[in-house]
């Protein structure tokens, strides 16, 4: 079962085409890592998936809701963590979450139940009244993940969510995301250019110059390119020097 279907999606900024006929799916209960060097088109794709950009060509379906025809239904099934923090630093953790719950149309009592559950799950209950400004980068990311999961989405999108985090926080975030996939049977699509964030069980997409150059499990990609490591394959496909 797939939470996201991307069919023949292309996108241009004026005359410059930045995405070329992308086709892929994101399975439920699994993390899909979208790899690509800077400028590959990852953020453009995220902007399309979150309705910030209009779909020019192709079709995107989130949990069977077409983004073009039923964007509001599709957005209900989508949780997003952007690369840049979008929390209000002067508000508390709980106030930030309450605002998000209101934007999704939840009543105060429903919001309270969801916030309690999510904060407990993210081990943030004791920080609920702290201003976000007082939290470290790792905790802020967890608040953003709690917020993105508040409305029980089927698909969680993360745009370079580990950017700016120290190695321990990055590791903790990756572990947390994979446990989320299993516990809640949601699909996670996480964009990154850091290969050490990929786990063997992940589904991998490699985007290069707006085209999808690899799509499948790590095993399948390794078999296809007859290479030992994902690093070498990534370097070969994106014409970068392997580290």
């Amino acid at each position: 079962m797939n939470a996201l279907h991307v069919n023949d999606v292309s996108f241009s900024y004026g005359a410059r085409q930045v995405l070329h006929a992308l086709n892929f799916t994101c399975p439920k209960g699994r993390l899909t890592a979208l790899l690509g060097p800077n400028g590959a088109g990852k953020s453009t794709l995220i902007s399309l998936l979150t309705c910030l950009y209009p779909i020019q060509q192709g079709q995107i379906r989130v949990s069977d809701h077409d983004l073009n025809h039923a964007p509001r239904l599709a957005l209900r099934e989508l949780g997003v963590v952007f690369q840049q923090s979008t929390l209000d630093l002067d508000l508390s953790v709980e106030q930030n979450l309450r605002y998000h719950a209101a934007l999704h149309g939840f009543s105060p009592s429903d919001a309270k139940l969801r916030i309690n559950a999510e904060l407990k799950r993210q081990h943030l209950t004791d920080r609920r009244h702290d201003k976000v400004r007082l939290l470290n980068g790792g905790h802020r990311r967890r608040v953003e993940i709690a917020r993105a999961l508040l409305h029980n989405p089927r698909l969680l999108l993360l745009d370079e969510a580990s950017a700016g985090l120290d190695p321990a926080s990055r590791q903790a975030l990756q572990t947390h995301l994979r446990s989320l996939c299993q516990e809640r049977d949601i699909a996670v699509l996480s964009t990154t250019h850091l290969l050490d964030e990929i786990a063997p069980e992940d589904h991998v997409l490699i985007l290069h110059q707006g085209a999808l150059v690899a799509n499948g499990s790590i095993e399948a990609i390794q078999a296809q390119y007859q290479q030992q490591s994902l690093t070498q394959i990534f370097a070969q496909l994106t014409e970068q020097e392997a580290k």
Binding site: N38, L52, R72, V80, L91, L103
Partner: protein, 265 residues
Amino acid sequence: MKAYWYCLSGIFRREWLRFWQQRTRLFSALVRPLLWLIVFAAGFRAALGIAIIAPYDTYITYETYIVPGLACMILLFHGMQSSLSMVYDREMGSMRILLTSPQPRSFLLICKLMASACISIVQVYIFLAITWIYGVQPPLLGLLSALPALFMVALMLGAIGLLLSNGIRQLENFAGVMNFVIFPLFFLSSALYPLWKMQEASLWLYWICRINPFSHAVELVRYALYLQFNTSALLVCTATTLVCLIAAVLTFNPKRTSLRSSQRK
């Protein structure tokens, strides 16, 4: 419908919390008109005699004349400041959270506008309370009848600000736009002097003041504060609000919300 109501109240709560967190904004919002009232008016009261004009039925002091204009000045600055915060939210990315909500975007923008209008009205009533103590005392019932007029004016100025913010690509460009919008709107209006005085000085300036929607906003509030109704002012304010709001919604470009981060890559 309930979802819309929860969304509206959530946006109101957030705007109020943000305002409450930044209480210095209230202080600075009040200092500006109070300086005009206490310092400027004291200096100019002798030079600018006010004849009997509607809605007043007697001679009034210059302080009494400028209070409605200064109340609108608070709304004007707040309207522009909230559009500045829209540009800031867009640059900092928090606008994206609003836009990835499943509610219609036009509804979300109108909610933000209404929330901002309500907060600016709170500031106006604090200002009116201070002016009451200072000695400018319109009818008590006028304070109540001015409420819908103040809300209308706050919406109009917020809609103008929202439209302006759509045209601004970066926060740095905002200061220039403020100078080209706030000062002409304020000084080319009936906020500080009755328009017949402007007519005596310059006919073409008078006509600019006459078509300035801010003049109509000031007159709407002035009349309402003295328990009178100014139909033409209401019509101009309503039309300006609708035109600016529709234009703002139509020209709102969500692409801008992800511009900065894309540029960084």
